[in-house]
Symmetry: C2
Subunit: 431 residues, 2 copies
């Protein structure tokens, strides 16, 4: 970027957009010091000018039509902060890149879905496409993988990438309150959105791990389905039983390459309660990267909120201002490899199962027989009887086995006459 | 860098140099993919060609005179891996930059001592001066502060930046062995150098924190003395007593700005045993950065060794290959601020003191009187009598007070007739 003044258009002026604007205004000198460029927020686009906001949109900057806006010749950088993988956000980002505007976005679902095409257009038009804020907010994990540890063979990425679910699981453990009670609290304090489905069912973390995979493994983002399970099925009793067995439950997003094939998965995991990741509590995010020759590195910080997100957006803005146009995903679009998916039914782990049974004599022997029939051996078992209801809760940690066998075990257990509800199945992740 | 082939000269071919060379050779394709440039190790300079090494120097690449080498027209990048703040390493780096060669170095003491001048020459000559490997080896902490969280007001950096001392303290705790016994073991396993003085006395961590300070606070590296204490005075009994009081002992490097003045210090600290930093064990490094608006971010990984160090050197090499010439310390040399030093005697903390006394009745009341005379109030106290020797060990955690009062307390204690040796004084760091 050879000009001295960089004109930016912020599109979307909610919590993030308005905070980001405030941060630009209060950091102009610092940005100038680091980049030798002056930043001017020339336009702000939002549905309504008059809406009550903590920060008022200056009338002179307000622009109503985002599509017209991204074509204006006096706009250098478009900052898209609307969100969502379709609709207007998608249109804005595509149009902006086509019109040779640099784009900065926090939109993980858009990047996860259209990152390949968007990267292609950005490279062709020699403009930046920056999305540090899309994964783990301020934690500079994208820059670290793209530039800090770029000449490594990355073996595995494992992270807590969703603060909402991590908050819920931590709070259930700390307060002994149910999933739904904690979810209400999370909404009240702004740690969960009014419609938290994409957080709870793992979709949010899925988008994030797909973005990291692409950068880490130099591959195109695959549109294939990944193994994805949310935390809606986690009950307090699972947290208690896991604790008794020496574990905590975390929703992890994991990506690794095995036999030249990609495994991506998002699901609740049992992790040893003394492990690093088990002690990442509340809305924190953390990412563990195993690579050669660097070994293991870990990155931790707040994974959401206007402050951390603005920090990432500002670093992206500096990258644009410095005139550093790089491959958005670290490798040239046309050289990103396609990679096959590992057959998930063949993945191997040990697992936790909680089986609710009728409390009759001989039940345990019947249940363990179902395990051995499926060639799954038990490592550890605790039984919690409920004398009043004449029920018992059996929690099991198994030895390692393949996903397929666990699925068959679950089917057989469900058919068993002593089993009173669908067993809970959570994979154990060794870290 | 507009050329397609980049010629590099590696100067220094010990553990790090030879491993780095191997990594370049085995990652040429990956480097090309990420930078669109080809890397050629054109020259290798080491004292002796014939010395037995795990990797042989190809005769065609060997070059004896480093000063002639850095002036050669067919050298684009000089990688200095000799070490030390003076002597030949200093000469090489200055000469290379003066001759408009990009420089990559892992040399923390050189950068900490001459970083300002070197940065000035590099900027003037529009070449890179890269030193990611000088702090915390592979952990991309310099890039993260310089580019990932650059538009933040950094409030405090606190880290375990020396793997040797962290290994020794961890091992003392885990094995119950003495400082000197563990030091011998560390030497045997390569975790401590033959002459480990600069690790043990805090000098190594001092260089590293000075480099981070400069980048984080946009200031010139000060040549002033900082508060520096090593771990040579830590005894097993301190580790035990600290544990009883709920703490672990870590050698921390800390840098913060208070009232627009810089505090830099390296010394053993008591940290709460459940805190994140207390659980960084062995040769690991970890850095905690508190900043606004991002909040707290944490970076962790192996802090030494050929693999992690090569990872950092390779990222620096990519930065050079991409043609990204940036300010070595993140801000232009002539705009780096000078910053006054905070008067260390006015810094405030609570502290741990271990006082060895004669085990006579009334001693405790005499000792606590010395505390109150110095206006230092006691928060927690444990006494460990040694009936045989008629001695007792009193360990105290105080409430907060200023450094100066603690120093006076120590003087008064030492003068006390019941006190049999110089008391141990360790600051408590709240994280």
């Amino acid at each position: 970027m050879s000009k001295n003044i960089i004109n930016i258009a912020i599109i979307g002026f909610g919590n993030i957009g308005s905070y980001f604007y405030k941060m630009i205004e209060s950091n102009k000198k610092l940005i100038n010091l680091k980049t030798n460029k002056s930043i001017l927020v020339k336009y702000i686009c939002a549905k309504s000018l008059g809406k009550k906001r903590s920060i008022r949109i200056p009338q002179s900057k307000w622009f109503k039509d985002p599509i017209k806006l991204v074509k204006k010749t006096d706009v250098d950088v478009v900052v898209e902060l609307i969100g969502g993988s379709g609709g207007i956000a998608k249109k804005i980002v595509f149009e902006a890149l086509k019109n040779k505007k640099h784009v900065i976005t926090a939109n993980k679902s858009l990047i996860a879905k259209y990152g390949n095409e968007l990267g292609h257009i950005a490279e062709k038009n020699k403009v930046n496409l920056e999305f540090e804020a899309s994964v783990a907010a301020g934690i500079p994990i994208i820059r670290s993988i793209k530039e800090g540890i770029n000449i490594n063979k990355i073996n595995k990425i494992c992270g807590i990438l969703n603060g909402t679910t991590n908050y819920i699981l931590s709070e259930m453990e700390n307060t002994g309150k149910s999933f739904s009670a904690v979810l209400e609290k999370a909404k009240k304090y702004g740690f969960a959105e009014a419609n938290p489905l994409s957080d709870l069912n793992g979709s949010d973390a899925e988008s994030k791990i797909k973005i990291l995979s692409s950068i880490a493994f130099n591959t195109v983002i695959s549109s294939n389905k990944i193994l994805k399970e949310g935390i809606q099925g986690i009950k307090l009793i699972d947290i208690y039983q896991a604790k008794k067995l020496g574990y905590k439950i975390k929703l992890l997003a994991i990506s690794e390459v095995k036999e030249n094939k990609l495994i991506e998965r998002v699901h609740p995991c049992l992790v040893l309660d003394k492990s690093y990741i088990a002690n990442i509590n509340g809305v924190l995010n953390a990412i563990i990267v195993d690579a050669t020759p660097i070994g293991r590195t870990v990155y931790q910080g707040e994974g959401a909120g206007p402050g951390p997100t603005s920090s990432a957006l500002l670093s992206d803005l500096c990258s644009v201002a410095k005139g550093i146009v790089q491959y958005p995903f670290g490798t040239p679009n046309e050289l990103q490899k396609k990679i096959d998916r590992f057959d998930i039914s063949k993945t191997v782990y040990s697992s936790y199962l909680r089986i609710e049974v009728k409390d009759k004599s001989g039940v345990l022997s019947v249940i363990t027989k179902v395990f051995s029939k499926n060639r799954i051996s038990i490592k550890n078992l605790v039984q919690l009887p409920d004398k009043n209801k004449k029920l018992a809760s059996i929690a099991v940690i198994t030895h390692k086995n393949i996903e397929k066998n666990f699925k068959n075990l679950l089917k057989d257990l469900l058919k068993n006459k002593f089993v009173v509800e669908k067993p809970t199945f959570i994979r154990v992740e060794k870290l």
